[in-house]
Symmetry: C2
Subunit: 221 residues, 2 copies
């Protein structure tokens, strides 16, 4: 299966002149990952820049204790800068990238990347914007974790994970990993939400009964 002209899909490449794009199409490698596969981790750092064409990549951080927190998600059309960041800073880090769905990505080699960054202002801007986005994402995480209440964060996360759907398919443990807290804590808060009629629960699923109330709780952020 081919993915066609992926240069069409990125702000950073869409506006490049035809010859450059052709060169890109020729030189870049298409990488695929199965759902659930680890894209990068502390002991497995890919040495090229990833552009996500399809799917969602979940980036999280894990403590020695085993507790985990989701830092952000990379969606189609975005690039994953964290691995490059680590290459450049040459420092250990404990973030991990997991394919939340099946992924199709374009991998640019270090040289191609640098060449593009040198020659194409649009591409440069795209990459800097990608870095910026992640910086701001992390600022937001710090803010939430350092100053936010757990019920507020859970309500917000449930709404985000549900999207347009009425149900979230996640265990209490999954939700705890989203927020960087413990399963018991999620259980308690969901219990409370349930008593107040905001959600109903089944094994591995949470149904949102009152989006409105949840939104209100999430907004006391």
């Amino acid at each position: 299966m081919t993915i066609g002209d992926w240069t069409e899909r990125f702000h950073g490449t869409r506006s490049l002149p035809r010859p450059v794009r052709d060169r890109l199409l020729a030189s870049a490698r298409v990488a695929r990952y199965a759902r659930g596969q680890t894209v990068f981790s502390p002991d497995n750092r890919p040495d090229n820049l990833l552009f996500l064409v399809e799917g969602t990549l979940r980036v999280s951080q894990t403590a020695e204790s085993g507790r985990e927190i989701v830092l952000y998600r990379v969606e189609a059309g975005e690039s994953c800068v964290l691995t490059t960041a680590c290459m450049l800073a040459e420092e250990a880090y404990n973030a991990e990238g997991l394919a939340e769905t099946a992924l199709v990505a374009v991998a640019l080699s270090q040289q191609t990347f640098d060449l593009l960054a040198a020659e194409e202002p649009a591409f440069r801007k795209f990459v800097f914007a990608a870095y910026s986005r992640r910086l701001l994402d992390l600022l937001h995480v710090v803010d939430e974790v350092a100053f936010g209440r757990i019920d507020v964060r859970l309500a917000a996360r449930l709404l985000a994970l549900a999207g347009p759907a009425v149900e979230v398919s996640a265990t209490h443990d999954d939700l705890a990993r989203e927020l960087g807290t413990a399963r018991e804590v999620v259980s308690r808060v969901l219990q409370d939400f349930q008593k107040r009629g905001l959600v109903s629960q089944a094994r591995g699923r949470v149904r949102l009964l009152s989006r409105e109330s949840l939104t209100r709780i999430a907004a006391s952020d």
Copy 2:
């Protein structure tokens, strides 16, 4: 007072050819900030890239509640990418940069910055490395805040703030702002440290009596 050939002081500019450096020296503006001055804040974003020639810039984030946490410090020879990040991402953020000492910085305009990024691989590398460093700094903050114990963090911070000195000049409130916690919490932990003979206290100052023990505590990270 002049600051001489500052291009000598940055990895990103040191290796540039003479003509480029001369152009830089001519076009860049030297900015000075007094100790305690706000360099940037949510409602005052400078529109250029800052290179710190002298001094220390403290970057922190403040919650609506008023609680604050120090995200990282920018030292001489480093660049402050956060403001540029926000320009590019065009999003609100609540980080603030404060001159911890008197600062001397070089401000590059957007255009000069882009020009350099286009033409000079060394400069490009420097800037990407700067972004990367901050990303990793923030990963570390998230890790600490989400998973770390307060006594461990305080011990580490005391040692870091002291440097080679035996005393830290900071109120409990200052220390709380460093860690993103409340003054009372710092008081309690310092009280405990004091009882164990690790520190002694005076108004606005903490003297480190046993670096060794503090290091041991900080290491249970």
